[in-house]
């Protein structure tokens, strides 16, 4: 069964500047009222929700996609069998979502997650 991309995330060394730029360009609003202080960008009509996460000062900004799966641990195992590396092991976030971040065999980071019912 095909698993959907359900979230995007920009990892930026200057998240305030990133948010400022996209707010001015696309009128994206961010909401930080969550336990991680994560800059959530709610889904616009026809789109999907995402967010901006800070990266280290010296890093390059990039976009990460999160794919929703029903069994996170199983998919992490399968991904590693297929040649992926685990960057962030399965973690239960304070707001109830579970996620892991991996590096695919071509060295592109991506996330998998199980979102809590909202």
């Amino acid at each position: 069964m095909s698993r959907p991309v359900v979230r995007w995330q920009i990892v930026s060394p200057d998240p305030n500047a990133t948010v400022r730029f996209y707010r001015r360009l696309f009128q994206w609003e961010t909401d930080r009222a969550n336990a991680l202080g994560y800059r959530e960008v709610p889904a616009a009509e026809g789109g999907m929700a995402g967010g901006v996460w800070p990266g280290p000062e010296q890093s390059q900004p990039f976009v990460q996609l999160f794919v929703s799966v029903p069994d996170l641990g199983q998919h992490v195992s399968r991904a590693t069998e297929l040649g992926a590396k685990v960057l962030v092991p399965p973690s239960v976030l304070p707001d109830g979502d579970t996620m892991a971040v991996l590096l695919d065999p071509l060295r592109m980071p991506f996330g998998i997650c199980t979102l809590r019912d909202r």
């Binding site: 092991p89 239960v92 980071p109």
Partner: protein, 151 residues
């Protein structure tokens, strides 16, 4: 210049395997000892001057009696290390501060609470949390339980 904090900045993209990082206090101690080996008359006062701080302040830092803030690391580090390693030193120090909090009974798995208690900016908390998870030094087992170490 010796590389105290070898290229572990890529933990976000996984471009390279993170290497063990030395904390900034140890880096200062090592650098001071290195200079003393080269010149046995090299004093703490001279080292403090080189770092742009008072010798009493430096002494307290070296003995672990004074907390290292990001500001201190940036100010002193800029005189010893390349910018990437100064940034890395800040992350390492923030990781240590967060782990200290995680071990406390009053700990709350909330980035704002951590930021206030550790006295570090919210963005820096996020970066340090990412690092800790990546290195297996912290695990988020449930919405309310963060524990040091791997899941």
């Amino acid at each position: 210049m010796r590389h105290f904090f070898p290229g572990a900045l890529d933990f976000v993209t996984g471009e390279s395997q993170p290497l063990p990082t030395m904390d900034f206090r140890s880096a200062l101690q090592d650098e001071f000892q290195r200079r003393r080996r080269q010149n046995p008359r090299y004093s703490l006062r001279a080292f403090a001057h080189a770092l742009g701080t008072h010798h009493r302040t430096l002494s307290q830092i070296l003995r672990g009696r004074r907390r290292l803030t990001m500001r201190t690391i940036r100010r002193m580090g800029s005189r010893l290390l390349p910018p990437s390693q100064v940034a890395e030193a800040c992350i390492a120090e923030n990781c240590s501060a967060i782990l200290c909090l995680v071990r406390q009974h009053r700990f709350r798995p909330d980035a704002r609470w951590i930021a206030v208690m550790a006295g570090i900016p919210l963005n820096s908390v996020s970066i340090a949390l990412h690092r800790l998870l990546h290195e297996g030094r912290l695990s988020m087992r449930s919405t309310a339980s963060w524990v040091p170490g791997r899941p």
